[in-house]
Symmetry: C2
Subunit: 262 residues, 2 copies
């Protein structure tokens, strides 16, 4: 077990830099904070480089159990001072436990039999939406999430936190429209898009067992190329003065409709 | 029309202070930013004190139309320099138009005939959730939202923004459990609570026409006193590794179930 008491220690600096997408992409790592997330990462055997804790802040037995569990798994355990912990903690009143994980990306070309329920998102901008969609997708037993275009980073701290650990259970892939099209022609799994103001009510649609649900960005919805790849398009009918729903809410409504019909 | 070029002008300082709940409560006012929200506030005749704009940043015809509309309605129109605008703008790349609105609270005791679909929220902590729930509630033609306990502020800038203007259409009230109980015994509108891991599947519940849907906080769910006031409790069945949904997603799933059945 290591002990770090300096805020300018190289690894502590690195942990702070993981707030930046550039650093996350360069290192292929990301930051995890809090008991629940770390517990879930350990439970699912998600690849973890290190667990960092401060014994003044960490008062939970569950947290101490997580450290023991981490040791057994051969994860680096690093003890730090309260001052040091607070330089990278994102939460006010931190629980005194954090971790550095290895990003896990699945090459979608390697997925030949795409069974079950998937979601593909195009150009999603808000990391909170991304995390919340993973949470709902996992809640309906979904398999994974495919990111298209310039989506925000699934390993952004807000996305990780909002996922409440679903990130560790789901298969995550990213690709572009060309690759997706090639792959679709091989795999043959139906794509169902969600659009605003379309004709087909999502409640009346007969969703197949294996499906990729496609959703566009918060601002622009689905681009033409993606619309053309969809076997079906569904719409959530609305009334009132607003003209659209929050993306994560819309995704959840359709996901739980599919789930309820099974 | 006024023109302000000083960042330390009294009113400009006040606008910046509206970021704090204390200042919002003291003044009974709140901050609104962006074309869409201001357009919606004007369309619904929501009480507005002033519209503040900068002509370098404001490039939208819709925005100039809003200023004309505001003038006709007797709203103070204040032109400011770009530097001044950027001291209070919350959005990166602001659209150059903001407003100060008057908070509108409805005394729930004054609502005798509570018809239609309402939501009551207890101790909700995240202003983004509050705004997103208003957006979905308006999307199903809901009447209003009642805040219980120590909810976060519905007029927090993040709540206002996330509501995408639904805040201006809905009736908003706040009360405590004792008042709510008294009022319920007079009004007789059924309360339906949502809980985790309960027995009644929300898909199988026969929701009445007039209803107050009750939801608890992100962390703690519904307190005992509120559970006891509910005629029915519904649950969203889930699978996977996560044990709950994001509050706004859960609210949206139940709201759109009620809406679809009508």
């Amino acid at each position: 077990m290591k002990f770090i008491s300096s805020k300018s220690n190289q690894y502590i600096k690195f942990i702070r830099q993981l707030r930046q997408r550039k650093e996350r992409e360069k290192s292929g790592k990301f930051y995890i904070e809090g008991l629940r997330l770390i517990g879930e990462a350990l439970r699912t055997d998600f690849p973890i480089e290190s667990i960092i804790y401060n014994s003044d802040l960490l008062i939970s037995d569950f947290g101490w159990g997580a450290i023991e569990d981490g040791k057994k798994k051969g994860i680096d355990i690093i003890k730090v001072t309260k001052d040091v912990f607070q330089t990278f903690a994102l939460k006010e009143g931190p629980q005194g436990i954090a971790a550095v994980g290895f990003q896990k990306w699945t090459n979608i070309k390697a997925l030949h039999n795409l069974e079950g329920l998937w979601i593909a998102l195009d150009n999603v901008q808000d990391p909170g939406n991304l995390g919340t969609i993973m949470r709902s997708l996992d809640g309906v037993g979904g398999k994974g999430m495919i990111l298209l275009g310039n989506c925000t980073d699934v390993y952004h701290p807000t996305s990780v936190r909002s996922s409440t650990g679903a990130l560790f259970s789901l298969i995550i892939g990213k690709t572009n429209l060309r690759e997706l099209d090639e792959w679709k022609s091989k795999g043959g799994v139906p794509f169902i898009g969600t659009v605003c103001g379309g004709e087909t009510n999502y409640r009346k649609y007969n969703f197949p067992e294996d499906i990729v649900l496609i959703m566009g960005s918060e601002q622009k919805g689905l681009p033409k190329e993606l619309l053309e790849m969809c076997e079906g398009l569904v719409t959530i009918p609305m009334t009132g003065s607003v003209d659209s729903l929050n993306l994560a809410c819309a995704a959840s409504i359709v996901l739980f409709e599919i789930y309820a019909k099974r």
